[in-house]
């Protein structure tokens, strides 16, 4: 069948396209287009009314010109006119033009909506579909306002044709994504869920997509979909005899629907009903089993579709994170894929394993594949696969393998692609700090980073190494020695000069006893780099010099000579000149005592989270909520004093917390807004967890990350604006009767789709039973919103585990005999008990757990959950 037998034979259009293709140059093309535009304009303006066909043809030409990348400023009206034509092709071109070219704030939107309204009411399925497509393609707020209430009616009406139902479901989904507040929920939700039972598989597929989107926002309204989805999935996956006709794709039964059902189930926790749960487990097992069967076809489409379902099933298993056997099987399956000959599968296996690594049940299983992953890093030809391997190594890293993984990443860094170097540097810096037992290792690692990839070491990384060295006096001597040695290299990176200058300025005295690194040698070494450095580094070095004058009176004269030279005192740069002048005067007039006071060693920095992690997150995509299941520590993206070079060397003032105190006083005194229900829905989930989503409604998502050390806790609150509109006058306060909670002030505006972070510092002063309440106020589209959320700060967060032998334990246990020291509560467990799971839970609950007594304790405690 030749291509030309189809199509509507708009000959003029074909000739025009052919002309454009024959143009030899860009100029010729523009000339031909301008000629055509003039022609069309005159036709549209002409006195003679155009017939439908000509209008269609010219609109189509305009569309072609637009798609070539030229601007079109007329013809919109003619396209809108085509909508009211009762000829299908004319209507179709009109709608296409509108979908591609009309942006949401067009003046014509009222006319367009009118055309759509007529077609929706036409009861002609073809026309209705065109109208629904147009709404979905444009998807503007005006359209949502006009049709959001009409489409659910079309969707659930008894006499709607299947194809229209499918379009209506996806159209509704599209509107819900852009304007969720305009799509009314209501009596139709139950009937939408019921569509999962529909006979037509196309309808079920479309409905599943819709329900998944809606259930993410309002899981409770769609709870009933879980059992229907499991039933449907089970029928597709486990019954071999069923004939799905054209929905079987290369011998795989309904892959699209299967994947969508598995996605829908990922909106919910594992089903509580035992029968349903075992039916689902059976489905998942069948899918895992099928992966081992020989393929039914050699075509790549067959294996892709089959594995698509498999990967989605694994995603569900990881999401449930409750069946250790399934998790381990999933991990083994992915392990097989790690060595598969298809690059795509290796890529996806690395990606899925990253999420698997954060599950406590499978973390160890993932670690067994470390050698394979390291090998992938060395041998994969494709950079995107190597990047995934780096991600996975980062995810599987813990104290036991940190040294090896960091070493491998460092050696990969020497040859890594430029595009991913900065990310690897950040990852190495984070891992080295997080898992450093021995800080000399940490210092070596960071200096290696600077040596190998100095250009990619951001400020955050070298600030951090200095903070750590200053705060830990056991590593200061080693650091001074190491940087001194590193600076001997004939060519060293400027970042190394910065670190070296700072550390020798502070701790050079610790190595000055050795004649090979005497004060003068140290000074000459630093000064030999001076002229090659940029202004900020030179400023830093000048500060190091004045510190030297204090540390080593014997080099005072030498340094004063340097400061006095014209290149310093008359430097064109104001900052350098000022430093030189001031330091010189200071060294001349101040007595030794005053010098010693002014230039005293830096006080320890306040314990502050590393800003490196924040930077890594930012790189991974702005506006994305952080991965809440990620158990890794979060970070404060602090923009305070350390961030400009002058302040790193903040000579005169110790970092003070005075400003915070003031804010804290205010935040405590402000009265919480009255009369809102306190949300505690997700509260129980946090008994054993520290991270996750505590609150979510249509507008706002609140995520938490928290960490506790002894009697102190720090909580990062993430406010995610789910709408596309700003939240104004945003404010938050915490009220608590028993705890000291200090919150930092937040920005009053959260942009649409953006996320803001707030830090709460919590101090536990005595035992307590009431959790603090977070009160939030903001304006959304004019309306004032009040939200109150109970924060999951429980007494057990401040527990400290103690190790003791079993006889000690029971000895103490038996001492607890007084009546007020005993309480017993017996109730039925909701879930079957598994010792391993219970043990893990008890551990997360931070209570003591020793193997010899764990059995008994688990029995005691597991029923709590």
């Amino acid at each position: 069948m030749p291509a030309v037998s189809k199509g509507d034979g708009m000959r003029g259009l074909a000739v025009f396209i052919s002309d454009i293709r024959n143009c030899k140059s860009k100029e010729a093309e523009i000339k031909r287009i301008n000629k055509e535009l003039a022609n069309i304009r005159s036709k549209f303006k002409g006195d003679k009314a155009l017939d439908g066909y000509s209008k269609k043809k010219y609109v189509c030409k305009l569309l072609f010109i637009f798609l070539l990348g030229h601007d079109i400023d007329f013809g919109h009206m003619e396209a809108v006119n085509l909508l009211s034509s009762n000829k299908y092709t004319e209507k179709q071109i009109g709608y296409l033009f509108i979908s591609v070219l009309v942006n949401s704030n067009s003046d014509l939107i009222r006319l367009i909506n009118n055309g759509i309204k007529n077609d929706l009411a036409s009861r002609n399925p073809t026309f209705m579909n065109l109208a629904l497509h147009c709404i979905a393609n444009v998807g503007s707020r005006e359209m949502a306002e006009a049709f959001a209430s009409e489409i659910p009616r079309v969707l659930v009406a008894r006499d709607t044709m299947d194809s229209v139902k499918q379009s209506a479901a996806l159209c509704l989904l599209r509107l819900n994504r852009t304007s969720p507040d305009l799509v009314p929920m209501g009596e139709w939700t139950a009937r939408v869920v019921h569509l999962l039972n529909d006979q037509h598989l196309g309808v079920v597929t479309a409905a599943t997509s819709l329900i998944t989107t809606l259930a993410q926002k309002n899981p409770d309204d769609f709870k009933t979909s879980v059992s229907l989805a499991v039933a449907r999935l089970s029928r597709i996956v486990t019954s071999a005899s069923i004939d799905l006709q054209d929905y079987t794709y290369y011998f795989v039964a309904a892959p699209w629907l299967s994947v969508k059902l598995l996605r829908l189930l990922q909106c919910y926790p594992p089903p509580e009903d035992a029968a349903l749960r075992s039916r689902l487990t059976e489905c998942l097992e069948t899918i895992l089993n099928k992966a081992q069967e020989p393929p039914k076809s050699k075509k790549v489409q067959h294996s892709n579709a089959k594995n698509a379902v498999l990967f989605e099933a694994i995603a569900l298993i990881i999401h449930h994170d409750s069946e250790p056997t399934l998790l381990v099987r999933a991990c083994n399956q992915l392990g097989q894929f790690l060595q598969h000959r298809e690059t795509n599968l290796r890529y996806l296996a690395l990606e899925s394993m990253c999420t698997l690594a954060s599950s406590e049940f499978s973390h160890e299983a993932v670690k067994t594949h470390m050698e394979t992953v390291i090998n992938a890093l060395k041998t994969e030809r494709d950079v995107s696969v190597r990047q995934r391997a780096v991600d996975l190594l980062y995810a599987m890293c813990d104290r036991s393998n940190a040294k090896q993984i960091v070493a491998e990443m460092l050696s990969y860094l020497e040859t890594a692609d430029y595009s991913i170097r900065e990310e690897i540097v950040l990852k190495v810096a984070i891992l080295a700090e997080k898992y450093a037992v021995d800080y000399t290792w940490y210092v070596d690692t960071i200096l290696n980073l600077i040596r190998i990839a100095g250009d990619y070491v951001s400020e955050e990384v070298w600030y951090r190494v200095i903070q750590i060295v200053i705060n830990r006096d056991d590593v200061q001597g080693y650091a001074a020695k190491t940087v001194f040695e590193a600076l001997q290299a004939p060519a060293c990176h400027e970042n190394l000069v910065k670190v070296g200058g700072y550390i020798l300025g502070e701790f050079g005295n610790l190595i000055a006893g050795d004649s090979r690194s005497s004060p003068l040698v140290q000074f000459n070494l630093l000064h030999s780099k001076f002229h090659l450095c940029s202004v900020p580094t030179r400023a830093l070095l000048l500060s190091a010099y004045i510190k030297f004058i204090n540390l080593f009176p014997e080099v005072k004269a030498t340094i004063q000579d340097v400061l006095r030279s014209d290149s310093q005192l008359r430097n064109a740069d104001v900052e350098l000149q000022q430093r030189a002048v001031e330091y010189l005067r200071l060294s001349c007039i101040a007595s030794t005592d005053i010098l010693a006071t002014v230039l005293e060693e830096m006080p320890p920095f306040p314990e502050r989270e590393s800003s490196i992690l924040a930077k890594l997150k930012k790189k991974k995509g702005p506006g994305k909520l952080p991965d809440m299941d990620d158990s890794r520590r979060s970070v404060n993206g602090s923009t305070d004093s350390t961030h400009s070079f002058t302040d790193v060397l903040n000579l005169n003032s110790a970092p003070s917390s005075g400003a915070n105190l003031l804010i804290d006083v205010f935040s405590e005194s402000s009265a919480p807004p009255a009369a809102t229900d306190v949300s505690e829905e997700n509260f129980p989930r946090f008994v054993c967890k520290n991270n996750g989503v505590i609150y979510e409604n249509q507008l706002l998502q609140i995520g938490l990350k928290s960490e506790y050390r002894q009697n102190l806790g720090r909580m990062y609150v993430f406010y995610g604006n789910k709408t596309s509109t700003q939240f104004l006058s945003f404010s938050s306060s915490v009220s608590s009767s028993d705890l000291n909670v200090h919150s930092k002030a937040v920005d009053p505006v959260i942009e649409g789709g953006a996320q803001m972070q707030q830090i709460l510092n919590i101090e536990c002063v005595s035992d307590f039973s009431d959790a603090p309440v977070l009160n939030i106020q903001f304006r959304y589209g004019g309306a004032l919103q009040n939200i109150a959320v109970k924060l999951p700060v429980m007494l057990n967060k401040f527990f400290q585990p103690t190790e003791m032998m079993s006889q000690d334990f029971f000895q103490r246990w038996k001492q607890l005999g007084a009546p007020q020291q005993e309480v017993q509560k017996i109730f039925k467990a909701k879930h079957p008990m598994d010792t391993e799971v219970a043990k893990a839970k008890v551990k997360r609950h931070k209570s003591l757990c020793r193997d010899s007594v764990s059995q008994r304790l688990c029995e005691l405690l597991s029923e709590q959950f």
Partner: protein, 166 residues
Amino acid sequence: MRFLLLFSRQGKLRLQKWFTPLTDREKKKVIRDMMMLVLARPPRSCNFLQWRDLKIVYKRYASLYFCAGLEDKDNELLALEVLHRYVELLDKYFGNVCELDIIFNFEKAYFILDEFLMGGEILETSKLAVGVSMEEADTLQEEEKEQEEVGKTDKERFACGRGLRE
């Protein structure tokens, strides 16, 4: 799915479909970045990439690249099959489709895509069902044409050497 692009090896855009609202500038940026990224990939690389917070899935059929931007939770392998199914549908409609078909009948390529995807989600996976609705549309058109009596039968013929092969 956030967007679908078809472009040639020479970097000519043949089809663009956006499933979330973007400004023209953002669209141009995405198109430029995609071409730069995808066209630079050596042959036999894997079909997936990470770009900002999106997963990019692409596949080359003869001279044309099909390239889709997916959200975080979307299934990459299945997206690859979405692209393949689209090629199959084009093939079925045009009969051994090639790039020229898509250039000269660009509006048809859009219509077929609309029958198949909506709002970035799969609308109808059955080849039969999509085929039927395209046939219906063409029949409607034929009838209209008879009424119109516009004699536009002598169409140019465009020889297409080969179809879109993987």
